[in-house]
Structure formats: structure tokens, C-alpha cells
Symmetry: C2
Subunit: 295 residues, 2 copies
């Protein structure tokens, strides 16, 4: 009998947390400040969406979860570093994240920059520990992670986002940003899980499509929630996109069309899973879960 | 007949510059700002000390220079990112570097943070392209780079440096900082060159010792030059360590003893090269060159 989704997510989160705790230097290791700051943001109650998807993708390809674990942790470190840097006063200037003061509010800006740098670096150390599979060398996995986190994707999306503040974006421009800022790394998490499981090239492509669509759905829903929920409900500052003059799916497409786009991307994700049959059940469940989330 | 040192350095710098230009997205690639910012700092007339040492170490181990090239470029990207972030107002707050305005003065703080992030990420993409040697997988090289750039070394040294401003440091503390802030990555550059050349474990250890000593000599001399030269002579703000209340070798050990320490570290570096005989000649020459530099 299959584990219920809630229990599945909770157990995978615990496994990821335990692995992150093992991989990172303890908070007492010198210089204490940096290790405290890295852990403060990493263990701040994140949803661990990307690592759970990474593990589920490995499972869908018939791989062992433990081989995907260093990659799952690496992606979570990248995600966390990007949040720390995005929250800086010179970027989105945000004081709260996941219901707690942001890194620079607690440790100061200098340490927040360095904590992000250290987590980004630690991500590659973790990725380089992943066991190679028959088709994919360790260096292939590192390259996958680096490309999706770099100037053409994750960082590039944040640049476009920063430069777009206060300007009108077209639908195409907004989609371009969301593909880079959110979808690329989320799809990367899923592809990395598949690579650890020695996925065939066809399976890897299908899962890449699944991840790209899911990532878009996820970000569109994030935009919608930011516009419709309170800070208390979200555990982070609500309405900040509008305040920063940022283009979002509701502001550019209208709320109704934005909701339709979220459903369309989710349908695209589910379609990409077809070749996996029942093996894709867990990933399908996770996609539904994301579409229906309230925070 | 061996190439004179100046010609050797100049030709290797050109080779490294050409490879960096090839590895990085062109300045016209979207988002244009980030690629301009990455290139602005990377092609700002740096000495390319670390990549040249990386190539020379590969040569000393009988390897092909071209196999070391992606690693040499990776180390230079890490070095450049660390300068961009160190220069930020929330860190050392420096307006000039290599005789030009620093990244955040030209592009703004947000883009400077992101340019650093993108270069750090690009470094791992480059390292992951390095051809594995018989003893060392690509992932081994990535891990070497990640550990030396992370919270226990490069970033850790910067944290201790930042926290130490305005406080009295002991000799042991100062040495601890310099070992992490400078020596670790410089030694890493040399070890990576050796790994690309399939160095024996003993040769790798010897070159690690060479690099650690050379890195310390290099940083002590940097401290001395900062205290004794003008900004025009250095091409960067002189006397800034004293102004920031930073501990330096001259301020903690006294100038005479600092000079003696620089010679002691250089001698240690040269000693570590003994097993290489004439094969170590170029590395020995580079070490002498660094000890006698005036900027």
C-alpha cells in the first residue's frame, strides 16, 4: 500500500533535513557566525519542495533515494542562498521570510551576503558527492546544477526581475522571467533526481518538461497567493510584488487568466508524466498538491 | 631553451583570457547587464596569478596545459567573485579596484551581488568541464574547488576578516585569517593543476605545501605593499587596511618581522618544490617573482 502524500512529504523532509545537517559544518565550527547564518536560513521551515521532487523523480526512474539525496540537498542550498540574496536591501529589501526576520536583519548585510555565498558553494560540494550513475558522471550533475543556477537561468531571472521593477512587462517578458527565476531550478531538481537514477535520455527529457511546467504553475500560483492572501497566512510579506511595482501573472494577465495559466501549466506537467504510468503517480500527486496549496 | 618568465606569464595570461572569453556568455546575451558586469570585473586587468600557477603546476607534473585550463579559469572566476563581494559597501566598501571603479559603483549594488553570484556559479560549470585524469574524477576537482572556496576557507576567512575590523588580532588569529582568505584558494589552484595532470598523491601533497606557503608569502607582501605604496603605484586604494582598522602583518608583527615572515614562507614554498627537481623550475621562478613584486 502506498504511503499517503502528507506522510510521504513529511518523511522525505526529515530525511533531507538530516542529510543537510550532516553535510554542513556544525554551528560551533569556526567562524561560528557564518555557520549559524547558513543554518538559520536553511532550517527556517522551508517547504523542501525541490528536494522532495528530486527524490520523487529518482523513485519514478527506479533509482535509490539515497543516491539522489546529495543532489536534493544541493538544490535546497541553492534555493536558500537565492532567497537570502534576494531579500537584501539592495534587492527586494524584505524583512521577513517564512515568518522570521531575514538573514541580514539578524546577522547584518555583510554576513548575509557571505552566508549566501557559502551556501551556494556548499551546494556544489554536495552535488560533487553524488554517486555517478552509469549514464551520468558526477561532473554531469554538477554542470546541470551550475547551468540552471547561473546567469542564463536563476541569476539571470533575478536580474531581469530587478531591472523590471516599476516598468510594464509584456506577457512574453514575464514568462521569460518566471521560466528563469523559478522554473529552471525546479526542473533541475527533478532532472538531477532522474540522473542519479540513471534515467534514459527520453525519460530525462520527459521529466524536464514535467519540471518546467510544474515550475511555471508553482510561480504563477505564488503570484496569485501574494496578491490574495495576508502576510500571516503566507508566513512572509504579502502584497510585496504590487508594492515593489513588480510584474506578476495577475497584474499582467488579469486574475482569471492567471488562474487559467496555472491550470494549463499543471496540465502540461501531468501530460509529460504519461510515459511513466503508475511510476509517475507520486509526482502527479505532488503536482496536484502544489496547484491546490493555500500558502 | 626555456621561455623567459615575462613571456611565459604573458602568453599564459592570453591563453587564460581567451578561454574565459569562450566559457562565459557573450556580453550581448540576455540579460545583458549581468554578462556585462561579469566581464567588467573579470577582464579588468587582473594579474591572473592563480590561473598561471595552475597551468605551471600541471606542467610541473608532466600534464597537458589544456587539461588544466578549465580549472585555471574556474579559480579566476572564484577569485573575481570574491573581490566583487568584498568591495561591497556592506563589506570593505571600496570604490576602486585595479585602477577602475568597483562593480557596485558602475552597476549598482544589486547587480554587483548578482554578478558575484553568477561568477561563483560559472566557476563550477567550468570546473565540471575539466577532463578527468586517471586518479581524479571531475567531481573530485569540483569538490577540491568547493571546499577551498567555502565557509571553512575563502568565505570563512572573509568572515573573520570582517568581524576582526577595529579589534586587536593576535599573531595566531591573523595567520588563521590569511591562511583562509588567500592561501587556501591559491594552493587550490596549484593542486587542481596537479590533479588535471594525474599527479601522484605525494606530488599533490608537496604542491599543496608549496601553494600554502606561497599563498601566505603573497598575502604578507600584499599587507606590506598596502602600508608602504601609494594608490597610484598599486592601482587600488592604498593604506585601506590601516584605515579600516584591519590587522595586517606589519601592524601585528611589525614591519621588519613581517618582511622576515614573507621570506620564511617563500623559503618554505621553495623547499616544498625540491622533489620536482628541474621540473619545478618554473614554479620556483614564479615564487621569486611574487616575493620581489612592487604592486
Amino acid at each position: 500500500m502506498r504511503e499517503p502524500l502528507d506522510a510521504y512529504i513529511a518523511s522525505r523532509c526529515r530525511r533531507v533535513d538530516a542529510a543537510l545537517d550532516r553535510f554542513l559544518p556544525k554551528a560551533r565550527v569556526k567562524p561560528v557566525t557564518i555557520h549559524k547564518a547558513m543554518r538559520y536560513s536553511l532550517f527556517a521551515g522551508g517547504k523542501r519542495l525541490r528536494p522532495v521532487l528530486c527524490l520523487a523523480a529518482a523513485e519514478a526512474c527506479g533509482g535509490r533515494e539515497e543516491n539522489a539525496l546529495p543532489l536534493a540537498c544541493a538544490v535546497e542550498c541553492i534555493h536558500t542562498y537565492s532567497l537570502i540574496h534576494d531579500d537584501l536591501p539592495c534587492m527586494d529589501d524584505d524583512d521577513f521570510r517564512r515568518g522570521r526576520p531575514t538573514s541580514h536583519k539578524v546577522f547584518g548585510e555583510g554576513i548575509a551576503v557571505l552566508a549566501g555565498d557559502a551556501l551556494l558553494t556548499a551546494a556544489f560540494e554536495m552535488a560533487a558527492r553524488a554517486k555517478p550513475s552509469r549514464r551520468y558522471a558526477g561532473a554531469d550533475m554538477v554542470r546541470e546544477l551550475a547551468v540552471r543556477s547561473g546567469s542564463l537561468f536563476l541569476v539571470g531571472g533575478q536580474v531581469a526581475d530587478l531591472e523590471g521593477e516599476g516598468r510594464r512587462a509584456t506577457r512574453a517578458q514575464l514568462r521569460w522571467i518566471h521560466e528563469r527565476k523559478t522554473s529552471a531550478l525546479l526542473a533541475g531538481a527533478i532532472r538531477l533526481g532522474a540522473m542519479s537514477a540513471n534515467a534514459t535520455p527520453a525519460a530525462l527529457r520527459a521529466l524536464g518538461r514535467f519540471g518546467a511546467n510544474l515550475g511555471m504553475a508553482f510561480q504563477v500560483i505564488d503570484d496569485i497567493l501574494d496578491a490574495t492572501k495576508t502576510s500571516a497566512e503566507l508566513g512572509k510579506t504579502a502584497g510585496k510584488d504590487a508594492k515593489a511595482g513588480k510584474a506578476t501573472y495577475p497584474s499582467v494577465f488579469g486574475m482569471k487568466r492567471a488562474e487559467a495559466e496555472a491550470r494549463r501549466f499543471t496540465a502540461g506537467a501531468v501530460r509529460a508524466l504519461r510515459p511513466f504510468g503508475t511510476r509517475g503517480a507520486r509526482l502527479r500527486e505532488l503536482a496536484d498538491h502544489l496547484l491546490n496549496r493555500q500558502k
